[in-house]
Subunit: 248 residues, 6 copies
């Protein structure tokens, strides 16, 4: 089984970290590769970044998609590349927000997402709404830090702020499960679990396990209506991966 | 890894069929056992049957639960034993309705459930509503057959009626994925897929794959609020498995 | 008119208290009997207790159901025995959570439920969701007390904590009506009404009045789909009341 | 106990019919009076009629309200007079749409409303939505007849068309209970029940039983927020009943 | 283009203020007239006031409606006159609550309404619910002031309390746009925008701009179902404007 | 006032047609320009096309955005470029799906969208859901034609099929207003209005009128949370318009 983990931002370092975490959970029988796009933002901080990163992410994935049995898009959001890849490919495609929520649902009555900057709050609330699981979501909580704070503050302070927010989600909002709302939070599970005593879900781990489960069950993306591929289009100056998705 | 498949009705034959299907999808590294309760209805046809079967199913599972890493309740419904076992145990517990929906969500925009008798329609609609995924459900469709028809009609007719209903779900309701709404429909996937060209999901296969994915990801049921176990209670004439859940 | 009040836990004392309250509101022309199951938990604190108590409650009721014109299930929850009895019987069956909400709706725009232990919060929220009246519910509030605190703390402290929670529901959540979220809270109406100045509803009183109103209006449970009784099944070692529901 | 039934249209004949039906269900111990406004439409066919009838209905009721323990507004809609009377008075006020839905909820999983002209369909759907019980409503169905048809067609044809619509609600929409969507349909319960085999609810009967149940339970309208009476206002040429509601 | 602004309360002063604000935004090519009803409350503080003011407002508008291309109802609520006028007339009719929400939606993910007395909170929440945009509404917040406080407190204090509430909506509830919840708040936009840095919407300005946009686009109210005019009715003592709506 | 109409597909002909229609509705005092992206699909048929067209559309708009007071994105969908432009710019940005719905809401109780190929059905349903106005949407109906049919069938047949679908929306689904679900349907309003007698809305016309109304009201996109621009990023090989949005 070959799984491709796609980091839609252009950080090589984060890509390697995610690949190692994914390989560890995937186990020996599964080959996990990881890629990142040739161009685009180093981190995804909003809708504009999503549009830019979606284009180059789809370009990169399409050029090598044939080799893989399933795909993971490692951005905690309803990233537009997820739908585009589902349309262009038959193999299962899983985003880490969707994966962490699918794993949270059978573990407790309500989940909360803990994320970093406040701008993600409406984006993730909209993502939860689109997934159609809004009534199971206790809250989406951000730490109230500005993006620059995240880079400049000491790691311990960032961590403590996220733990504080997770505790509020559990104690004030009724969350019974916490979803870590950023691929970059991997490794914080233990600390937050110790402080809150509820399951804490890392989306990359869940996405690997769920894509494996879909591949094992023989599942393929539906080609009825929403994800039916478009007909052939001319390449017309588009990069090769994008063009390939148009049948070139 | 040890997984216990629980058939909540008292049919030995169906239990064996489900166990074999579950073992096949689980693979070599996983031991799959299957049980059924000592007392209760031979099939589950409504709320009354659920209440009776939940009691004896919980009794049976509790007496041997320590040996297993995860549990599957093989009734396509929001069966009350699912919540009771989640409360009493820490290992993941998965119902086949919930599992088939969790697998359907990433494969298409809307799923439909195709079931047998019309009485299941409101029960399953309520179950989908409780799971909180109502906006993703195109329809719950029954074949309009009476329960007795199911036993007395030739298998081909039953099959054709279910295929006809699945086609209506796809063509009239906009379903992009079909969930088979009964553990006893395993084996119909291929036929319905051929006629509808959409993914068809068997809940037992999905439940095995998902419970494996939760166990691999190290997930445990939340013990905050809803699934916090009750304190010790006296056995007072209750059967031994039930009593064990009360700390005896 | 004969009404049977069913206390689904095994406390004789609570059964007698509820019966007296029910008789008082029912008036002279109505005979109110009360029963409790032969086995099961002394209080209902979660899903596991519900499964156990539902089985023995249904068994008890079925053995004497013919004598009654209507039934009240005196547990403030979406207790599974309610549906099972509706399926097996034609006479109206009313749970006290549903009754108190039906009475709250015409009295104000939003109601809150005030309950005891935090584990009831997700269960009652789910119950409100299943009833389909979630948009009218301002909040479900628990007092944050552990179950043991309830038994060990002085009555005045328990009462004050519940009053404090009711005031928060009114002042912070916008509740215009308070539903007492436990059969054992009967008698607190006056105190909470004095402190909050909003209508306070005791589910037992409302259930008696509503079952009377349904009986007077000649209403019977629908036998279409959800509550259609199952066909005859063999008794096979099941207790006599349960077996009677299977046509024995 | 004194109950006032308010017919908000100006038809004396319909007022008398409703009063007799209400008295019959109320029983001997209850005095039922009935009134209709001094001015306004002879039937209520839309929002414009509602605005006109609400004004004169409130005027009429306010002038004699002190004598009554509860009120029934006998128009099957979310008629604006209901809220105005709840605000001005403390005694329970019940509309017949709300009453028939409150009685339908415990009898089956889904109800449908069968009404006359198509213009009521969006109005009643909005009314159901405002009550907050949309997820329990299988459908609002009109017979597709024009208003003039209703008066000009033979009674048997009108009746047959309504029965046909009720059957469609049951067979196609999954309704388990039928609510008659017009005060003028009283008397059709039996015929529709015979053809559909589901409970058929007449709003006037349910409203009488429910107002009695609220009075018996000692309930009063909440005076918190929504239904808090306005402060005194000058009469300034307003009719005496309206002016009385302003403290004159 | 001729637009009629309808102030449904009987305050001449407020009518003139609103007319001037509306004319300023409408621009030179548009004639804006303003009226108020002959009878009714000086301010609208609840459902009772709505019923009285709707009657006299409709009466006033109907007598002069032919001269206008569109109408604005200048009460921040789901005032019943809006629907009645839509039914009786073909020209677009816009309420200022609806208008301010329609303008808020494209400017941010969530809006909040800031209003005065707490009784408006449930009324406006219901209004938002009826408009069907509840999931975009972050909160409806009142300043917690009694109606008398509003008249008696110094203007600066009223203003500061409203600004404080708007800041809470932005900082605690996630509002990205603020709608001023009362026609009388015109002029506070700047102050609240300076303190919150989010767009602040005055319903009168938005209603003028939106009615103009509908007139320019050639739009007329649908006469299918909900807003189909009633057939002719006799005048029977009704005031002339009301009677005109009945075809007299 | 300067308005830029953005056609996100690469068809010059459609761009010119849309520009002329927009200018006609905008009136003499408004300058309407129109552009299309340098690269990308000639029509937008799904999520993959959206991702490609969003990138090049944003690139094109960003390079000339300073000259305009407002923007219209002329694709009938929740196109990702809308959010990206709202984030990068302060001037109002309006999509034609959102605009046609905002205009439909005050004209009738329910609207339907009539579109071409069936794949748009789930995409538009999701778009309506994200806008938060699902309860006002009677249906999204496609004509059931394949994409190739649209190009190859005679215009009259395409037109007749769309009219047939609009009639079904009105007669079967209860639509009171029809939204034309494709920028290319401009000109069909009259024909569909004649056959259905309900208002028919062309999104381009509504978007022009609404953007004008927002500009006249002085509205700007909120910069709180969702649409807060990202901080400066390096250009790193990105095209000049995209790079400009990153502060280069």
């Amino acid at each position: 089984m070959h799984i491709l983990v796609v980091n839609p931002n252009t950080s090589l370092e984060m890509t390697q970290t995610i690949r190692e975490a994914a390989q560890a959970i995937a186990g020996d029988g599964v080959v996990v590769d990881a890629i990142y796009p040739d161009f685009g933002p180093e981190s995804i901080e909003g809708v504009y970044d999503e549009v830019v990163s979606a284009y180059w992410t789809v370009d990169k994935v399409m050029s090598i998609a044939d080799k893989y049995d399933g795909f993971i898009l490692a951005c905690f959001s309803a990233h537009p590349a997820i739908g585009a890849l589902r349309e262009a490919l038959a193999q299962p495609v899983m985003g880490i927000m969707e994966a962490s929520i699918l794993h949270a649902l059978p573990l407790g009555s309500k989940f909360s997402i803990v994320t970093t900057s406040p701008r993600w709050q409406p984006l993730l609330e909209e993502g939860v709404h689109v997934l159609g699981v809004g009534s199971r979501c206790a809250s989406v909580r951000s730490s109230g830090m500005a993006v620059l704070d995240l880079e400049e503050l000491p790691e311990a302070e960032v961590r403590n702020r996220l733990i504080a927010e997770a505790k509020r989600a559990v104690e004030e909002d009724g969350a019974e499960v916490i979803c870590l709302g950023c691929a970059g939070m991997a490794g914080l599970e233990e600390g937050i679990h110790e402080e809150t005593a509820v399951p804490v879900i890392d989306g990359v781990r869940s996405a690997v396990a769920l894509v494996k489960s879909l591949i094992e069950a023989g599942a393929q993306t539906s080609k009825r209506n929403l994800y039916r591929p478009v007909d052939r289009r001319p390449a017309n100056g588009l990069p090769s991966g994008i063009a390939k998705g148009y049948g070139n």
